[in-house]
């Protein structure tokens, strides 16, 4: 009974964070029931995650941009344009793929930094600066694809990023072995780090959750990792896209929660004047956040181009709005200083699950837009309500 009470109070305190996971769970369960399990099939989940990839990385960067009270509308066409540049480098200039990718990422950083300079140095509202960028890069994308139209990419390595899977080594009962090993490693790493954290807290004589709750937490999260691994291993295993997204999320989660840089970003978002008077260089933080956004836009362009195995004239259309929606569903606040990158990824998965589920059910595209809009509004209303209650 005590355990139950503790769980209840934990849930109450963290309702906003858990709410999102619960929502994702409800959405997935609903679609699974409605589609007789088709939604949760290995093939569908694998596809769903691959489709989420290029939006998820944008949402991660966008979360930090919104945290510092700015916005970047240019990322969609920056992704499209840089994807096209990648295609040109690979198929027309003959640059090998291991050089193309770093070149594109660096170009992305340059573009992002340029936005940052417009915003921080010249004081142009980011909405306007990035709107200008959006138009410019849309034009640039048309310019480079004008003569050829769609540029087909024949580089297998590059195309594998969006379509390939990590090697299997061997099949075990029809399951992908390396993926299973990675999943198991992830579980072990998770349990190890959580136990370590707990030990450290005890060493500092801080309060920790009771052993029962702690065990339940460990088992619960491990079970989810195991289940997802098992599903994916039943198809082709982890795709390169999933691996890349997981790496990006892990890196950004670490930076935003555990480092001085991360603290500075949230401080600037929370109160820029106070941040300045605390000795934080607000301009520098703005450059860094926009630079990272540009890099992730480039990565998004690479993922998308590689998935289509070609650069098209309309690549990147509306990516920015999908990314912004994912970030808001994930709990970022436009008042600044609040929002997690992990939330943004869950937000992206929620939105992609809706699309995927409704496609399986054959819901008309008109209704799909309305339902996704409704979910976005509901998520933000829930956010505002729970925050009001706490604050």
């Amino acid at each position: 009974m005590n355990l139950f009470n503790e769980a209840k109070s934990l849930l109450k305190v963290n309702i906003r964070e858990y709410g999102m996971y619960i929502a994702l769970f409800v959405i997935m369960l609903t679609f699974t029931i409605l589609t007789d399990g088709l939604f949760m099939s290995s093939r569908n989940i694998s596809n769903l995650l691959d489709q989420t990839g290029y939006i998820a990385v944008l949402a991660v960067g966008m979360t930090l941009v919104i945290v510092i009270r700015e916005i970047d509308l240019s990322v969609g066409f920056v992704a499209g344009f840089l994807g096209a540049i990648a295609a040109i480098l690979l198929s027309q200039a003959g640059v090998p793929f291991y050089l193309t990718i770093p070149i594109i990422l660096v170009l992305g950083i340059v573009v992002g930094m340029f936005n940052g300079v417009l915003v921080a140095k010249f004081g142009i509202p980011s909405f306007v600066a990035s709107l200008a960028g959006m138009l410019i890069f849309r034009g640039a994308l048309l310019q480079v694809t004008e003569k050829t139209g769609t540029i087909i990419i024949k580089d297998d390595n590059f195309n594998a990023i969006g379509n390939g899977f990590i090697p299997s080594i061997a099949e075990v009962g029809g399951l992908h072995l390396l993926s299973l090993i990675l999943g198991a490693l992830a579980i072990i790493l998770y349990i190890y780090s959580e136990i370590n954290k707990r030990k450290n807290k005890i060493k500092y004589q801080f309060d920790v959750v009771s052993k029962g709750i702690f065990a339940i937490q460990l088992i619960f999260v491990s079970a989810i990792i195991a289940y997802v691994t098992w599903i994916l291993a039943g198809y082709n295993g982890f795709s390169w896209t999933v691996v890349i997204v997981l790496l990006v999320v892990a890196l950004y989660h670490f930076i935003s929660t555990k480092t001085v840089l991360g603290r500075h970003i949230y401080a600037v978002g929370s109160n820029p004047e106070a941040a300045h008077l605390t000795g934080i260089n607000v301009k520098k933080i703005t450059y860094i956040v926009f630079g990272s956004m540009g890099m992730l836009a480039a990565l998004s362009g690479i993922l998308y181009t590689s998935r289509l195995q070609s650069a098209t004239t309309t690549a990147g259309t509306l990516f920015e709005l999908d990314a912004i929606a994912a970030a808001y569903v994930g709990g970022v606040s436009s008042a600044g200083g609040v929002g997690k990158v992990t939330g943004a990824v869950i937000g992206a998965v929620v939105m992609a699950s809706l699309t995927s589920g409704m496609n399986l059910l054959g819901v008309g595209i008109s209704y799909q837009y309305m339902i996704r809009g409704g979910v976005l509004a509901a998520a933000v209303i829930f956010d505002v309500m729970t925050r009001k209650k706490r604050g």
Binding site: Y204, V260, R263, H264, A267, L277
Partner: protein, 506 residues
């Protein structure tokens, strides 16, 4: 005996536990110029906000009788309808609109629901003539000087058939010439039968213009002085304004030992390019190790600007003069440079630019010294909680845990967090800007005690304060500032409330 146009009887007003006004009575005769005087925070503005309906009927106790009728103003527009107009210190004009649009903003000249701009301009011209302002009504407000903007505000009030005009420190931002013109205008309006309440800190003005003057102190009416009986003199006003006894709310510091100069400013000036004027003029000042230096002065006298110009110049003023820290010349290009040199600045406006209200206590405490809890840029979160808990305990911050959001703390506890944040940096010189504004007596005492403890540990403090009692009770030496310049330096032995007030209102 002429009749009263306004009687405020036994007004009391409370803000969550803090009494701002206690049983205040305030009577204004028809056709007089009545000055309302008191220290910062005495309750003058609160009283005027009760009168104008900013604090609506029901949130205070007591009666407001205006023109013989008991009034129950539910909102500002009710008091405007009754004929009361208030002009605040910060002008409420639209800088990008024209003079005539501003005069009739909210009171548009309409014909059948459509604005008649031609008639608006004609009427605006009339109003401008009334206040003696010779400008084209089609110029934009932002192209006028502050003095003329003030007159536009008055013209705006007159356009609404005002019977009682309230001016909150109308000359605070004006030069002498403009001030004189304004006072002349008030005398002119008086002849036309308009009653006027003026809040002012400048005693000379009060003496020259007031028919009667009411002094408020600590939320209570102290007295009403009659000009006709020769009661309005500098000495009577000052005596009544500051009258409070300084008792032992200021903890004593037994051993005073001063070391070398920690900070020195020579001919230090700061020019604000946005305002187009010097906010700090030719300041020469020094602070010794182990010393609390008080900077007294009224609001807007340039004290905060001086502090910020020392602390890395976040507002990007153009600086002139020399700054020495520990005898070495320094030029700070960012606040982080000043912090590195050992200076910390606790801001006056803790909610506005001091704290991260949406973050918890621990993040705020470590915000200025993340290096102290991190290795290679990675933060040790356990160390963070430990340090935050230490400060929470040593400064008696009342909160359930260090995970409490700072926005939910009381003012006193917020101030302690703000102080803790800077103590964790370990500065040599701590600049405190209004360290006890808006916090209760108990918390004040705790903050004074912390200040004394820091001094005994070898820190130096500059304390900027509008509260004379605090300046006299805590400082070792006092500088008095007015209009961006130092008007005098007083040792604590020679400083009194009267001579500080004299220098500050010079």
């Amino acid at each position: 005996m002429s009749e009263y146009i306004l009687e405020m009887n036994n007004i009391s007003k409370e803000f969550t536990g803090v009494k701002a006004l206690t049983d205040v009575s305030f009577k204004v005769e028809k056709g007089e110029i009545h000055c309302l005087i008191g220290e910062n925070g005495a309750g003058k503005s609160t009283l005027m906000k009760v009168l104008s309906g900013v604090y609506p009927f029901g949130t205070y106790t007591g009666d407001i009788v205006f023109e013989g009728k008991v009034q129950q103003f539910g909102e500002i527009s009710d008091s405007v309808k009754a004929g009361i107009a208030i002009i605040y210190q910060e002008l409420a004009l639209f800088p990008d609109l024209t003079v005539y649009e501003n005069i009739f903003a909210g009171n548009e000249v309409k014909r059948g629901g459509v604005i008649d701009w031609n008639r608006t301009i004609v009427k605006a011209n009339d109003m401008l003539k009334k206040v003696g302002l010779d400008v084209n009504p089609e110029v934009l407000i932002k192209d006028l000087g502050v003095g003329k903007q003030q007159l536009v505000e008055i013209a705006k009030a007159l356009s609404k058939d005002v019977k009682l005009l309230i001016l909150d420190e109308p000359t605070a931002a004006l030069n002498e010439n403009d001030s004189e013109n304004l006072l002349e205008l008030l005398r002119e309006l008086k002849k036309q039968g308009i009653t006027c309440i003026m809040i002012s800190h400048k005693l000379k003005e009060v003496i020259s213009i007031a028919d009667r003057a009411t002094v408020i102190r600590d939320g209570r009416t102290i007295c009403t002085l009659e000009g006709s009986k020769g009661e309005i003199t500098e000495s009577t006003i000052i005596k009544n304004m500051v009258g409070r006894e300084i008792d032992d709310i200021y903890p004593k510091r037994p051993d005073k030992k001063f070391g070398d100069k920690i900070l020195e400013l020579n001919n230090w000036s700061a020019y604000d390019t946005q305002l187009g004027r010097y906010v700090v003029k030719n300041v020469n000042l020094h602070v010794k190790k182990g010393e609390i230096v008080g900077i007294a002065g009224l609001m807007g006298s340039g004290r905060t600007e001086l502090a910020q110009s020392i602390f890395g110049n976040p507002k990007s003023y153009k600086l002139q003069g020399d700054l020495f820290v520990d005898g070495l010349p320094q030029k700070f290009s960012h606040t982080s440079d000043a912090i590195k040199a050992g200076i910390a600045y606790v801001t006056e406006d803790r909610k506005g630019d001091g704290l991260f209200l949406a973050q918890d206590i621990k993040s705020n405490v470590v915000a200025a010294n993340l290096k102290g809890i991190s290795r290679n840029g990675v933060i040790n979160e356990n160390e963070e909680v430990k340090i935050a808990n230490e400060y929470k305990a040593s400064m008696h911050v009342k909160a359930p845990s260090v995970e409490q959001l700072v926005g939910k703390l009381s003012g006193g506890n917020q101030q302690k967090v703000s102080l803790g944040k800077w103590l964790f940096v370990g500065p040599k010189l701590l600049i405190l800007d209004e360290p006890t504004r808006g916090i209760d007596v108990g918390a004040k005492f705790e903050i004074y005690t912390i200040m004394n403890k820091l001094i005994s540990e070898g820190m130096s403090i500059i304390m900027i304060s509008s509260e004379l009692g605090e300046v006299l009770g805590m400082s070792d030496r006092v500088y008095v500032m007015a209009e961006g310049a130092l008007k005098g330096e007083l040792s604590i032995e020679e400083a009194t409330q009267e001579n500080i007030m004299q220098l500050a209102t010079l």
